[in-house]
């Protein structure tokens, strides 16, 4: 499996997580989201950007609880809650949002 951005092919693993993290660009994020049938809005991007910043600092995806706490802070409690996260990313903020953000599949996530 792979994605295509501007005629360039981006390699992924069998589940669609990109294998070379520096390949990621917001354009690629949009392409992955489309493959996941997600229409990216401001709230989706807030989650993706937080995941990327957190990964950059700690080399790991955050616990979902930490993600929600941060989104609550930046976008308010209507967005920063577990239920709404699943509305944004039906396959889970950890698995699906990490895939769109170009991060590896989270540890311990089956």
């Amino acid at each position: 499996m792979s994605y295509e951005v501007d005629g360039q092919e981006i390699a992924t693993d069998e589940e669609g997580y990109i294998t070379n993290l520096p390949d990621w660009t917001p354009e690629l994020g949009a392409v992955i989201a489309k493959a996941e049938e997600i229409e990216m809005g401001e709230e989706h991007w807030a989650v993706v950007n937080f995941l990327r910043d957190y990964y950059e600092e700690y080399q790991i995806a955050p616990a979902v609880r930490v993600l929600i706490k941060s989104i609550k802070k930046s976008m308010g409690p209507e967005v920063g809650n577990n239920k709404y996260m699943y509305e944004l990313f039906p396959y889970g903020p950890a698995k699906q949002a990490c895939k769109i953000a170009g991060l590896p599949k989270p540890t311990g996530c089956v």
């Binding site: 957190y54 600092e57 700690y58 080399q59 955050p62 616990a63 311990g108």
Partner: protein
């Protein structure tokens, strides 16, 4: 589902990049953190090298996982016992280690140090106080 909380100690005695033990330990800790148990980590012998500052693995082609220790607080792993004698034998002091903090939710989210320096005898007490010990 059982409500019993057990005390788990992950014992780290190996340097970070020569073998896979250190990285595996950290992965298991992060996975295990989901089970709401009382988790601590111990660093002794060469294990203290895992926590040093300034690691940069770019040129050896391995992932630098040292920044991840600073995220442990987010996973409610807030007790990192480091043995003083092991540091001293290796010419290290607390200053050579990363600053690792957690937010204490019982104290208005005040930032507190996760690293607890203990003597060899205190480390033995910590070990003897556990329900389960996992060695790496």
């Amino acid at each position: 589902m059982s409500e019993t909380v057990k005390k788990f100690l992950y014992v780290n005695r190996k340097a970070p990049y020569g073998t896979i033990y250190a990285q595996e330990s950290l992965e298991v800790v992060l996975i295990g953190a989901a089970f709401d148990q009382d988790v601590s980590m111990a660093f002794l012998d060469d294990g203290v090298f895992q926590l040093t500052k300034g690691q940069d693995t770019k040129e050896i082609g391995l992932k630098n996982f040292s920044p991840t220790f600073r995220a442990l607080g987010d996973f409610e792993v807030t007790k990192l016992y480091v043995e003083k004698e092991s540091l001293a034998e290796r010419g290290l002091t607390l200053e050579d280690l990363q600053n690792i903090e957690y937010e204490d939710e019982d104290d208005d989210w005040a930032e507190k140090p996760s690293i607890r320096l203990v003597s060899r005898a205190e480390m033995a007490d910590v070990m003897a106080d556990q329900d389960v010990i996992l060695s790496f």
